[in-house]
Symmetry: C2
Subunit: 135 residues, 2 copies
Amino acid sequence: MASVFTKIIQGELPSYKLMEDKHSIAILALDQVTLGHTLVIPKIEVDHWFDVPTEAFLQVQRNSQILARALQKATQCPRVMTATVGFEVPHCHLHLIPAWSMADLNFARGVRRTPEEMKSIQERIIGHLHEAVSK
Amino acid sequence: MASVFTKIIQGELPSYKLMEDKHSIAILALDQVTLGHTLVIPKIEVDHWFDVPTEAFLQVQRNSQILARALQKATQCPRVMTATVGFEVPHCHLHLIPAWSMADLNFARGVRRTPEEMKSIQERIIGHLHEAVSK
């Protein structure tokens, strides 16, 4: 059965999309640990991140640097943390979490935000992508 | 002042080294969250991971896939988690943590191991690197 992320990639489920290319997609996480919490996901459905083919894996990583710069501008967070965990959805994904302290690396803090909050942070992040790419 | 990682890279401080190339080094973490906990570090001393020049950043990522495959073989862990946090040493580094559950993503669990334990896990990981590279 297709993973929830494959369904999002195929347009069968909605998402707040930030970026998409041949190999990957970036969306806002459904449960936001901090506002702006983003997932960067290879399109290929692979469970373990270290099994993702190199080209797709490196595209995820390249995009994560660009997205993190935009996240920092959009949220004014002092750091952007990353994590790959893998005990829930068997389709690997990289978390980018705007962070003010170590305590923000805590998935139990994830909460649903209103559609208005999600749309607003999506627009702010996208608005900073151009300068983040050209850095 | 040079970071603790720069001192390790320059050979001024000891470490349990797993891998080294032009752009990066991989060592066992001083405080082991789980046995085998590894740091992959760009040689260039940059605070935020998203500011590391692309070539060095992607080399860190390429090596992290190889190291994670070797870690899984060496420790028989079901997953290898990754994290970049950044609130302590201002020289970015990617954590690779052998994991049996979500609870292993907890830096408060980091503990010093004996030199014998460190040498033994270092040898086991290095022993699996060749097959991990050629995968």
